[in-house]
């Protein structure tokens, strides 16, 4: 089968660093190869990858399961995930090897982009990944197959995200369920089996985009490298619209599980200053699961809560981040909040597992990386990084196990395993201390 070279846009973004060409390219020299050996029951369905992310870490001693392999015992903090236990693997004992220089930022940057966050003021909220994260590397290889290359969704109302297309190129999440519904299932949505009527307006929209290309073309030669990459990013967005216009002129994919979901409420206001995290999470899960079932996208990031968030949960005495630092002793309040978050995660994964696709479920055909920004919130540590992988990705990953890393393995091995499972032929992943050419074999089938 011929190899398809990865999109020029991703490689170009690798140049942004200033650490020009020689260092930049090897880490991004990915190829895409549609897998030859997909399992039979999966052949008719696409593979999906997603990140489910929460902020402020865990209490590792209450998070890490006991025992290993398939007979392990769920920990206190993981107990809410019991209903989906057979569909996920818990991974403990790995480390983020990227230097821990930006509290709450170096962890996700190290894991997802393989290098440290850069932040001039030291705050994770104004920092940037050094290159594209694995979700966007995957989106740039398979994103053109669908209406949306990737979807970024937030449960907490915040513009922060761990989805980066490159340095200074973050994908802010959509945090309004109503707006997400309109985008995915509004007027332009067509259920499977609908015939496509020719719409002259689509062609007119395209003619407008042609002019935009022309105008950008005369501007670009005058730009320096950094601004040229920003303009290229803008044109990526234009091309993304063009692909969508082309797709809207064809019949929608025929997928049995696809239907228009129920319309969410216009707003989910806070109650006594407390956001309705679990409810919004469930509503978003419904929309996203259906977007995946309808093959509108194959790549997603759910920002359940952002790094350093101070969300007020339930009857807790302070915001989440403040509690992780100030609560003394065993931190019972933090413990409870982590379990609340795991409850929302269970709801999300269960929703994906309810959607039947052939002999399996949507979750079986996906890999969902569930992770956070630090290990122990109180100290911002990156040792024993909290990692879970849900869904077997069409049989690529083991599920139902606790994999205990024997020697503090590089957490980026998991990132590399995921890239490969999604069909990205990556010789390596990560920069400097995080560099690896091996996947995390303990979770691979």
């Amino acid at each position: 089968m011929p190899r398809a070279r990865i999109h020029r846009r991703t490689v170009l973004k690798g140049l942004l660093a200033g650490s020009v060409v020689s260092v930049a390219l090897p880490g991004l020299d990915y190829f895409f190869d549609p897998p030859l050996t997909a399992r039979a029951d999966c052949a008719a369905f696409p593979k999906r990858f997603g990140i489910w992310y929460w902020g402020n870490g865990v209490l590792p001693d209450k998070f890490r399961p006991t025992g290993d392999g398939p007979t392990y015992t769920l920990s206190e903090q993981l107990m809410p995930l019991a209903p989906v236990r057979s569909k996920l693997s818990v991974i403990s004992g790995t480390r983020i090897l990227t230097p821990n220089t930006v509290p709450h930022g170096s962890g996700p940057s190290g894991l997802l982009a393989g290098g440290d966050m850069s932040s001039p003021d030291g705050n994770a909220s104004s920092g940037t990944f050094p290159g594209p994260g694995i979700d966007q590397i995957i989106a740039s290889t398979i994103g053109d197959e669908t209406l949306f290359p990737s979807l970024e969704i937030g449960v907490q109302r915040s513009s922060q995200s761990v989805s980066f297309r490159g340095p200074n190129a973050m994908n802010p999440p959509e945090t309004s369920p109503a707006a997400l519904f309109t985008r995915l299932f509004g007027a332009s949505f067509r259920e499977p089996g609908t015939m496509t009527e020719p719409d002259p307006r689509l062609g007119l929209r395209q003619s407008v985009l042609d002019v935009v290309h022309q105008q950008a073309g005369s501007l670009t030669p005058r730009l320096g490298v950094a601004d040229r990459i920003r303009m290229e990013a803008h044109l990526d967005g234009i091309r993304s619209i063009e692909l969508r216009i082309a797709r809207l002129q064809a019949d929608p994919p025929s997928l049995a599980a696809c239907m228009r979901p129920e319309m969410p409420l216009e707003a989910y206001p806070d109650i006594e200053g407390r956001p309705q995290m679990n409810l919004v999470s469930d509503v978003m899960a419904d929309l996203l699961a259906m977007a995946l079932a309808c093959d509108q996208t194959r790549v997603f990031t759910v920002m359940y809560s952002q790094s350093v968030n101070n969300v007020l949960y339930g009857d807790h005495s302070a915001g989440h981040h403040q509690l992780t630092h100030d609560e003394p002793g065993e931190q019972p309040e933090v413990n409870d909040i982590v379990q609340t978050i795991m409850g929302s995660l269970n709801g999300f994964l269960s929703r994906m597992d309810e959607i039947v696709e052939g002999d399996g479920t949507l979750l079986d055909h996906s890999a969902v990386l569930c992770t956070t920004d630090v290990s122990l919130g109180r100290t911002h540590s990156l040792e024993d990084y909290p990692l879970m992988l849900a869904g077997s990705c069409c049989g690529a990953f083991r599920t139902g196990i606790h994999y205990q890393s024997p020697g503090a393995e590089n957490a980026c091995r998991l990132s590399l395993s995921i890239l490969r499972a999604m069909g990205v032929l990556a010789p390596s992943f990560g920069q400097g201390p995080s560099f690896t050419t091996s996947g995390l074999s303990g979770v691979e089938v």
């Binding site: 650490s19 002019v211 002793g329």
Partner: protein
């Protein structure tokens, strides 16, 4: 070349010394004059290059303001544009640094059609834009008469006939397809609003990408976004076109702009960005602890601070230090309840003078600052101290280090108030090296709770607000604001912040001389804001494009 993340320390004898003791944190550390390693020296595909500020994308406020200038105030702009992400705490910098997401581009498309549809609906706006009667759906002559002037205003420059005709062709083709002149024009207008020439502000210079002097149109644009936060008006564009933006002509034009009411819009944009006031739109406060907290409190507090600066900077033209010592402010009923004063008006905001006996003064006494730099359930002397150090005094303090025990004791008989509970921040030398810069200042504001209400007790025990600001002791907020108002960093820091906002690029060693000159002009004016705007607008540094920094790093 060496790249400096920030300037050499300001002329404070004490603050930098204290900062130098604050040893851990990022590479580059908290010490302000440590040169930052060039990106090439770092591993991997590494650090992003600093922005040149040559191509900022319109902020969502600028987009809205521009639409109002082009089509009048009746046109509604969709609210879901790409969020303005800051860089180094500044939206102005972020606009020059960040790349737009694909979703953001999609939203621009949605907004363009939503706006085009409104302006081409039969009515006053259409009448204003379309000076001719179309002879047929595909009347190219009439379409040209609509597109040409609009394109010039939207692109903020002279446009070529080729450029005009490429857009007219889209409109005429659409008119023919849809059988209606105005329906087709919507596509032409959408093409203007989706163009990079509209969405990005060019400040590339005559030797782009190596910098050079801004073109007259680029200068006009930089002036109008700096002073008005919107596109140039016809008079400014004409001045640029006729080469009347230098020397005496320029002074006249700048003075005209400074006298224009739109300067308030520009000032509000700066103050919002400088103080991070946009974060007040979604303030998280526990209403079971702060009973006066509500979703409306944050936006009201933002409006108070904006009106306060409008009064101080533009109406009374007071010296800068008065922002800390003034007893004047603007409140609505909600805020007057928090300040425990009678509401000046039944609806909306009114001006009040806080009683002499009240120690509440100026910006530091406002709900905006006190609530933003606090937790959802309590105050935070650390966050308040950091705001004053970083935003008002330009002393950068690193983020907390990793692997440090950070819990603070619960209230007890040994540690009753927050001051006592935070004692370890100041007594353990490792913590004190940074917290010593922050907490003492914040503790001086402890008599105001997490939403800015005055209090005398913390956890039922009396609050001690005494402290020392870089050698000046204070007993309470009144004396703290006095000390801060005379701090040697205050004025230079403010000049830097306005300069950074004006150019959209992080200032560096190349700007030292320009900033020193501006500081001197600012002082000569008696520290007047409008005079500083004028000095910046006339400064050579404001008229130059900066070379793309990544070029200097190329092998």
């Amino acid at each position: 070349m060496k790249m400096y993340r920030s300037l050499t320390p300001l002329n404070s004898p004490r603050a930098p010394l204290a900062a130098m003791l604050c040893v851990f944190g990022l590479a580059g550390g908290c010490v302000e004059d440590v040169p930052v390693a060039s990106p090439r020296a770092s591993i991997g595909f590494g650090d992003p290059t600093p922005t040149a500020g040559g191509l900022p994308r319109l902020t969502s406020a600028q987009y809205r303001n521009a639409i109002t200038e082009l089509f009048g105030p009746t046109v509604l702009v969709p609210t879901n544009l790409e969020p303005d992400l800051p860089a180094e705490g500044s939206v102005a910098l972020g606009a020059s640094t960040n790349a737009i997401s694909p979703v953001g581009v999609e939203r621009y498309e949605g907004a363009a059609y939503a706006i085009a549809e409104q302006v081409m609906a039969e009515g006053e706006v259409r009448g204003m834009l379309v000076p001719c009667s179309p002879s047929a759906p595909g009347d190219a002559v009439c379409a040209t008469e609509v597109i040409r002037p609009l394109m010039r205003r939207a692109f903020r420059r002279a446009v070529t006939e080729d450029e005009v005709q490429s857009v007219v062709a889209v409109a005429v083709n659409a008119s023919a397809t849809l059988g209606d002149f105005y329906d087709g024009l919507e596509y032409g207008i959408a093409a203007l609003l989706m163009s990079p020439d509209f969405l990005y502000r060019q400040a590339l210079g005559d030797d782009a990408p190596n910098g050079g002097a801004l073109s007259a149109f680029e200068l006009a644009s930089r002036l109008s976004f700096f002073l008005w936060d919107t596109v140039p008006d016809e008079a400014l564009l004409t001045a640029a076109e006729e080469g009347r933006l230098s020397d005496g002509d320029l002074e006249g034009e700048v003075d005209r702009m400074l006298a224009d009411p739109r300067v308030r819009q520009g000032m509000r944009a700066f103050v919002s960005d400088w103080l991070g006031l946009d974060r007040l739109s979604d303030l998280s406060k526990d209403p079971t602890i702060f009973r006066a907290a509500s979703p409306e409190l944050g936006p009201a507090a933002r409006e108070e601070t904006l009106r306060f600066f409008e009064h101080l900077f533009l109406t009374t033209e007071a010296p800068l230090a008065e922002m800390l010592t003034s007893r004047t402010t603007f409140v609505n009923r909600r805020l007057s309840a928090i300040y425990e004063i009678p509401a000046p008006t039944a609806d909306g905001f009114g001006m009040v003078t806080l009683p002499e006996s009240d120690e509440r003064r100026g910006l530091l006494g406002q709900v905006s600052v006190l609530a933003l730099h606090a937790h959802a359930v309590s105050t935070s002397p650390t966050l308040r101290g950091r705001f004053i150090r970083e935003t008002l005094l330009c002393t950068s303090v690193p983020a907390p280090p990793v692997n440090v025990e950070t819990s603070i004791p619960e209230p007890s008989t040994e540690a009753r108030t927050l001051r006592e509970r935070l004692a370890s921040h100041r007594s353990v030398s490792f913590c004190a090296s940074c917290h010593g810069l922050l907490d003492p200042i914040g503790l001086g504001l402890e008599s105001y709770d997490g939403i800015g209400r005055h209090r005398t007790l913390d956890n039922d025990f009396p609050i001690d607000t005494t402290g020392d600001l870089d050698g000046r002791p204070y007993a309470d907020m009144l004396e703290l604001t006095e000390a801060l108002s005379r701090h040697p960093n205050l004025r230079p820091c403010f000049v830097r912040r306005v300069f950074r906002y004006a150019t959209g690029a992080a200032e560096d060693e190349r700007d030292l001389a320009a900033i020193a000159a501006l500081l001197s002009d600012f002082g000569a004016s008696g520290d007047r804001y409008r005079a500083l705007l004028r000095a910046i607008a006339l400064s050579p540094a404001f008229h130059a494009a900066r070379a793309d920094a990544s070029l200097e790093e190329m092998p």
